[in-house]
């Protein structure tokens, strides 16, 4: 049977933008039977949004208070059970997908393809390894279920299809482990645009010097209507919260316009922005590796250059 299952990511109210991108990857496989499953305490609002997306055949809802928080130990057995009826099971390669899907793949007894960046055909895909220093072709043996995460930065978002797919409630299985409990989640609470999806991003690095210094980045980003990002060094130093980290182990993003401010351009950072449209680098060191990938560079002190740019806006 050739059918694709996508597990939706959402916050209980809204479908995450990563789902439309995962759907785009699924559409590229060329199988036109695509279902989206929504696990939630009350899945209806999210299911409604999923049902309007282009090319979706059905939306499956699995309602249970256990699904109020995304715990891999509770979700993976359900995904493995549902997945048995599909040839492909996809999730976005967000932290959520990365946490949950390998657990489901192991329960299904199959290997998994992480961070698919291109669909070659229904069994083969391209993905980055070594922090993006190499791109490989991964071929899943014929007849084996393809389980994989889809890299958001590499796919555009599927749009709305004009119709509405049927929504079907599925009964979750009764026995779920109680050895894992959600306690809380703390968000850094910036109210600017979302880093993962914003078309403009301004990132600051170690050069910002302090959380106080980092305010320059926030101000500049606000002027541009951009989301704020950061290098690992800036996050490690405590200037900004972890969810702003861009790179191999942070967020992989593809904005139209990216400003790297006081960031040297380590390979682990660059892997997070290689799909960006236009990269602007501001660095006082003309030899900084960031200039090798930047479309435009300004060499000098960022604390002088940023206000100058602002004055020309």
């Amino acid at each position: 049977m050739s059918r694709i299952l996508i597990i939706a990511e959402h916050d209980g109210k809204n479908l995450d933008p990563s789902v439309a991108k995962t759907l785009k990857g699924a559409l590229d496989v060329g199988i036109d039977d695509i279902d989206i499953a929504v696990f939630a305490e009350s899945p209806d609002p999210v299911a409604g949004q999923a049902a309007r997306l282009e090319g979706v055949s059905r939306v499956l809802t699995l309602a249970d208070e256990d699904f109020a928080h995304p715990l891999a130990a509770k979700l993976a057995p359900e995904i493995a059970r549902l997945g048995a009826d599909y040839s492909h099971v996809f999730m976005p390669s967000t932290m959520y997908g990365k946490d949950v899907l390998p657990r489901a793949a192991a329960l299904m007894g199959v290997n998994m393809v992480s961070e698919i960046q291109e669909v070659i055909d229904k069994n083969s895909f391209r993905r980055p390894i070594y922090a993006g220093n190499a791109i490989v072709k991964v071929t899943v043996p014929e007849g084996e279920t393809v389980v994989g995460t889809i890299r958001q930065a590499s796919f555009s978002a599927a749009g709305e299809g004009g119709g509405e797919a049927p929504i079907e409630a599925v009964e979750p299985s009764a026995d779920r482990p109680d050895h894992t409990r959600f306690v809380n989640v703390e968000t850094g609470g910036g109210d600017g645009p979302d880093l993962a999806t914003s078309p403009r991003v301004v990132s600051g690095g170690r050069a910002m010097g302090s959380s106080e210094g980092f305010k320059v980045i926030y101000q500049f980003a606000e002027k541009l209507g951009a989301a704020v990002g950061a290098s690992r060094a800036a996050v490690d130093a405590g200037y900004v919260p972890n969810e702003l980290q861009v790179g191999q182990t942070g967020k992989i993003i593809a904005p139209e316009l990216y400003f790297a401010v006081g960031i040297s351009g380590a390979i682990q950072h660059l892997t997070g922005i290689k799909d960006a449209g236009t990269i602007v680098a501001i660095n006082k060191d003309a030899e900084a590796p960031i200039f090798e990938v930047a479309d435009y560079g300004l060499v000098g002190d960022l604390f002088e250059i940023l206000p100058e740019i602002e004055s020309h806006l």
């Binding site: 390998p102 992480s114 390894i129 070594y130 922090a131 791109i135 050895h179 003309a286």
Partner: protein
């Protein structure tokens, strides 16, 4: 309680990895090899837990050819008590690695298995989650803080929204994120001492592992190069360029 920590031997993170011209793999000849950075962080955390008195023994394990013993020795020098080397010439993919680790877990019965969240060679980020599934135990991935009490672990995890805390019953699988700690440096006397610490070699067939049907990995390509850009003279020039491109 015993803690089992996995150490994968990988190309050092400072090396600029290059694809072989025939597309068959990446250059590894004469390249510096190290413990996967996330695994070093996992080991550091295990050692700190032991030093606080919450664990009695830290065992390090690696799967691979004979040369992984170098990384195991480094782990012993950092302070691990014992090492296990599962010997195989093939590079196991995550599901096979998880099956092998499950066998070690059944032998050693650790309270915590600590892995890195991701190996920086294959960048899979799967093995810990797969082990937890096969073992049917909790997982707490991408940990940036771990607290233990009464047979439970409170783990703060780096997720897209920020920091999530979950509580898991032990035994459990944990995977480390970068900000969990900063690993200690190894001192010379420790390296000498580590030579006398036990290192057991286990043959793969001794564990009764049937190989999973692997994914085929082929056609290695260098990443597309971004066209080198221009260095501009002034902020005004930049704003003009961006406006011309319709970006501002």
């Amino acid at each position: 309680m015993k803690i089992l920590v996995t150490l994968k031997r990988v190309v050092d993170y400072n090396v600029r990895v290059r694809v072989k011209s025939d597309g068959s793999g990446v250059e590894t000849d004469g390249v510096k090899m190290s413990i996967n950075p996330f695994d070093e962080i996992a080991l550091e955390e295990a050692l700190r837990i032991k030093e606080r008195g919450d664990a009695e023994e830290v065992v390090v394990a690696s799967i691979g050819a004979a040369d992984v013993q170098q990384q195991l020795r480094t782990g012993l020098a950092m302070g691990a008590d014992r090492a296990l080397h599962v010997e195989t010439e093939s590079a196991p993919q995550p599901l096979t690695a998880a099956r092998i680790l499950l066998k070690l877990v059944e032998r050693e019965e650790p309270g915590i298995v600590f892995l890195g969240k991701q190996a920086i060679d294959d960048d899979c980020n799967q093995t810990g989650q797969m082990l937890a599934a096969l073992w049917d135990r909790p997982q707490a991935t991408f940990a940036s803080k771990v607290e233990l009490s009464d047979g439970k672990a409170s783990v703060t995890r780096e997720v897209d929204a920020g920091l999530e805390t979950i509580q898991v019953d032990l035994p459990a699988v944990l995977t480390s994120d970068l900000r969990l700690n900063e690993p200690r440096f190894v001192k010379l006397p420790e390296i000498m001492k580590a030579k006398r610490k036990p290192l057991d070699i286990i043959a793969l067939d001794e564990l009764g592992i049937e190989d999973a049907v692997d994914h085929q990995i082929s056609d290695f390509q260098p990443p597309p190069k971004r066209a080198g850009g221009k260095i501009l003279e002034s902020a005004g020039e930049l704003v003009d360029e961006l406006k011309n491109k319709g970006l501002l």
